[in-house]
């Protein structure tokens, strides 16, 4: 298996020289291994470098890269879904720590994954740079002279003619130039070459891989990516404190955040009304008024696939839900809270959960008596013994709010950050309102209802239902570099895979019997019958001007070519028939 690319004969090897800048594989024949120990540090380094930049190692590294990417798709990833990682750690107490040590929860930034692609890119650089120089050299040089034995070339043709050798060669040159070959100057033979773009494409492709890597690195280091839940009528301005959560890269600077903001005016959603996929969302639209760096207001509607682009950031619509607008009066009869309270969806029909916290409530006795409500909201209410209250459709067909009420101390002063969507009911200072028999009391409210709490503790009114939308605000530089690199990769690949680099030689010399012996040969590096086809075209053109000499004896078939076998890959006879 140690055949080289073009090893069909000594002449061919020489003639094929520099037909490509691909490095010769020397791994199999690495002679001199006995004296490896005497290489010395420099020698070792050189040896290491040669190994690293060989095609074989590139191959192995590529293979390793695809292998190494696999665990990241099977093990939950912190960057993709941190909740799942936490669940996994909880469920697998022995495996979890091992995975953590191995970096399996962030495969694509782990040491070993990085090591592979860094080595690959070092190898790539070590490969590309010399190849580029070589290619420039090839562009400046002429196609090599015709080898002595043309009949050893992969494609060959010959005949005798009475035309003058010069005329034959001139005709060949014209034909080749017309077919955009580069033709080397020369007297008794013609050497021509075509398809340099293949090499150029190959280099472009590999260089574009670097562009892609840089774009990816810039994107990861400078990016910021945060979420903001906005209720209708509410707004957002781009500032670190405004985000519900904000992830960012290592080089992110909060002071340099772009100035922009928006207000959510309205939100519209439509759902499948019938069929097996009833309830599946069909469209989401958020009407916003936004301002950018120019400070002026603009109107836009944001759809799921159509983010708002403003000041280098993109604002995506990611999810939505309902918020209840409530008025809470305390024991003194004062309005202790009025406003929207977002509820978070639990299922596809937007059965939602939320809490209403009223820290400023004062009891009948004039002492502080905070109020809290835990609620379940259903846009289309249904109750059954199995599921309890739940929603059967995501649109606001039959909205209802189920509440239980608490009073006492919400525990908000403890200094610990509190989840705004949860009520800490384990807190002993927080008591649930109960009836005379001691069973907790609950209320089912529809918009407009008021629930008066026992013992004059206050009341809550459900004024109306609003919607909220969650926006993801993304700043990621390097996108256009990534796209440019991708396009270069495509162009380079197409050139590299679809263009054939090939050489053609023509020789014409006078023989003793006064005729001219015409010889044509073609050589390509890649696996293609194109070389033969092109040579056939050239033969036809030259033969038209230098026809076979009349009394020519039948050419003996060169080499031992059995004429009775028809290899399958030549269908041209059928095609043209």
């Amino acid at each position: 298996m140690s055949t080289t690319d073009t090893g069909t004969g000594t002449g061919v090897d020489d003639a094929a020289e520099a037909l490509s800048t691909a490095p010769r594989e020397d791994g199999d024949t690495a002679g001199g291994s006995p004296n490896l120990p005497r290489l010395g540090v420099l020698g070792w380094l050189r040896w290491f470098w040669r190994q690293l930049t060989s095609m074989r190692v590139a191959l192995i590294l590529l293979f390793l890269l695809s292998l190494a990417a696999i665990p990241g798709s099977l093990v939950p990833q912190e960057g993709v879904d941190p909740v799942k990682v936490a669940d996994f750690l909880k469920a697998h107490t022995t495996l979890g720590p091992i995975y953590t040590k191995l970096g399996l929860f962030h495969v694509y930034s782990s040491v070993w994954f990085s090591a592979i692609y860094i080595l690959l890119f070092v190898s790539l650089a070590g490969c590309i740079i010399p190849r580029s120089w070589q290619f420039v050299g090839q562009l400046r040089s002429q196609p090599p002279r015709a080898p002595r034995k043309l009949d050893r070339m992969p494609a060959y043709s010959t005949w005798r003619t009475q035309a003058e050798p010069e005329a034959v060669l001139a005709s060949a040159r014209d034909t080749l130039r017309a077919r955009r070959y580069r033709v080397a100057p020369g007297e008794e033979s013609v050497a021509a070459e075509k398809g340099y773009l293949r090499e150029a494409g190959n280099l472009l492709f590999h260089i574009a891989l670097f562009g892609m890597l840089i774009a990816f690195a810039v994107g990861t280091l400078y990016k910021s990516d945060g979420n903001k839940l906005v209720v209708t009528g509410g707004g957002f301005t781009n500032n670190q404190t405004q985000y519900d959560d904000l992830k960012h890269g290592a080089f992110f600077e909060p002071d340099n955040m772009a100035p922009f903001g928006f207000t959510l005016n309205a939100f519209h959603a439509t759902y499948e009304r019938s069929g097996p996929q009833k309830g599946t969302p069909r469209s989401y639209a958020a009407d916003v008024t936004y301002f950018g760096a120019d400070g002026k207001d603009h109107q836009r509607t944001i759809h799921v696939n159509e983010p708002l682009e403003v000041a280098g950031n993109k604002v995506y619509l990611t999810s939505h839900g309902y918020s209840t607008v409530v008025t809470v009066k305390d024991g003194q009869g004062n309005v202790a809270y009025h406003g929207p309270v977002p509820f978070l969806p639990l299922d596809g029909n937007v059965t939602s959960q939320g809490v209403i916290k009223v820290p400023d409530a004062v009891g009948k006795d004039g002492k502080r008596d905070q109020l809290g409500f835990a609620g379940l909201f259903t846009p289309t209410m249904a109750i059954d013994p199995v599921n309890g209250p739940h929603s059967t459709f995501p649109a606001l067909d039959r909205p209802a709010l189920f509440l239980s009420a608490y009073h006492g101390d919400l525990g908000m002063d403890s200094g610990l950050a509190q989840n705004v969507y949860q009520l800490d009911t384990s807190n002993k200072n927080l008591q649930q309102f109960k009836d005379a028999k001691g069973t907790p009391i609950k209320a089912l409210m529809v918009p407009g209802d008021t629930w008066t709490l026992p013992n004059g503790a206050g009341s809550i009114t459900l004024n109306r239902i609003d919607q909220w939308a969650n926006f993801e605000i993304v700043y990621q530089p390097g996108n256009s570099l990534a796209l440019t690199s991708a396009v270069c990769m495509l162009i380079g690949l197409a050139g590299s895979l679809f263009i054939q680099r090939r050489r053609v030689w023509v020789r014409a010399r006078r023989t003793e019997d006064g005729h001219t012996l015409v010889e044509l040969a073609g050589l390509g590096r890649s696996e293609s019958r194109k070389v033969a086809e092109e040579l056939a075209v050239l033969v036809t053109a030259v033969h038209a001007e230098a026809p076979t000499a009349a009394e020519e004896p039948q050419e003996a078939q060169p080499d031992s070519v059995p004429s009775d076998s028809l290899p399958h890959e030549d269908h041209s006879d059928k095609e043209q028939a």
Binding site: T3, A58, G79, A155, T548
Partner: protein, 358 residues
């Protein structure tokens, strides 16, 4: 964003009938292919067949000899071309095809191709009816994807045949796998005709997914050829050692290992840029839908793995010592990655690609 008109149930029904009819006709084509192979094995195959196929070699114009693997003569229409190939050379010649020398076998082979064409037309009708029924690109879930992929695979095969390429040998294997694909689609993967979730509403659905389907279909052909290459290669080794088995009559009728290898390489290399484009298009779509062009979502990760695996295969082909069987294994692994991405990742691994419809 407008909601496309609701689902046309009637059209959906027609689509299902058409897909089932196509499957029935594919089954007939499959049987005809089997018959072809059986008759072929009875005729004392290639030895006689090759003599029949030999052209009357008359050429008044000078011949271009292209040195052929095995020293075969390739005859270009007028100026003859004789090739000598650079790749590894065992001297094997291409087999005569499934029918061997049998005229009856050949007749059944032709019937198989006619039936395949008919089934293909029904298949196209099924996909079109599905598209009309939902008023969008007919590849919004795994069922539709599988059906469209089978259609493209058969379409590419028929197109190659129409172009006069010698690909009839793959017929039986292709029809078998398309039947499997459709069988899986209508049983396990079936999803009713319906609209899409908002994230899939985009013209990128047309571009990205259709490219993925074309790539899958063509890579599938490449993988089939590679698989057959491995079998035929084993056969040629056994032949050289003079220990042929009974079933080797089948192998004998396939093209030479080198031809299969070359066919597989060409088809894989030709589609690789489109696969690259598919991933780029997907990234652009992801950027507009989710805010990042690359997020290592399982589906994204596996298309990356598939891409790298094919890049690996192409590199292997360019490196001496890695051609032949080693490269072939890489090709099969790479296609395995494509399949894994489609079946396993969509069904078993939860990611952002809410594609399965299961």
């Amino acid at each position: 964003m407008n909601i496309a008109a609701g689902v046309n149930e009637h059209m959906a029904q027609i689509s299902n009938y058409l897909v089932y009819s196509a499957m029935a006709v594919y089954t007939l084509a499959f049987l005809a292919h089997i018959t072809e192979w059986i008759f072929g094995s009875r005729s004392r195959v290639g030895r006689t067949a090759r003599a029949v196929a030999a052209p009357a070699a008359t050429a008044s114009a000078p011949a271009v000899r292209v040195k052929q693997r095995g020293g075969g003569t390739a005859v270009l229409d007028r100026p003859k071309v004789v090739t000598r190939d650079a790749s590894e050379d065992r001297g094997a010649t291409d087999g005569p095809g499934a029918a061997g020398g049998s005229e009856k076998g050949d007749l059944y082979g032709r019937i198989a191709i006619s039936l395949t064409t008919l089934a293909f037309l029904l298949h196209v009708g099924g996909v079109l009816a599905r598209a009309l029924s939902v008023g969008r690109a007919p590849w919004g879930n795994m069922y539709e994807f599988s059906v469209a992929l089978g259609m493209v695979a058969v379409g590419v095969y028929l197109a190659l045949l129409a172009l006069g390429k010698n690909v009839r040998w793959v017929g039986l294997f292709l029809i078998t796998s398309v039947l499997l694909d459709l069988g899986l689609a209508v049983t396990v993967l079936y999803a009713d005709s319906d609209q899409l979730v908002p994230a899939l509403h985009s013209y990128w659905l047309w571009i990205h997914v259709s490219c993925a389907i074309i790539c899958g279909a063509v890579l599938h052909l490449g993988a089939l050829a590679t698989l057959l290459y491995l079998f035929r290669d084993g056969y040629e080794v056994r032949q050289a050692q003079g220990r042929l088995g009974k079933l080797d009559s089948m192998m004998e009728r396939l093209p030479a290992a080198a031809s299969l290898d070359k066919f597989a390489y060409r088809i894989n290399a030709a589609i690789f840029p489109l696969w690259t484009f598919t991933i780029i298009a997907g990234s652009i779509w992801a950027e507009s839908a989710w805010g990042r062009y690359w997020g290592w979502d399982p589906t994204e990760t596996w298309s990356f793995i598939t891409w790298v695996a094919y890049a690996c295969y192409l590199h292997a082909r360019a490196t001496a010592g890695w051609k032949g069987r080693k490269a072939a294994y890489l090709c099969l692994i790479a296609f395995g990655c494509y399949l894994f991405n489609f079946y396993c990742v969509n069904i078993f691994i939860v990611g952002k690609h809410s594609y399965a419809g299961l």
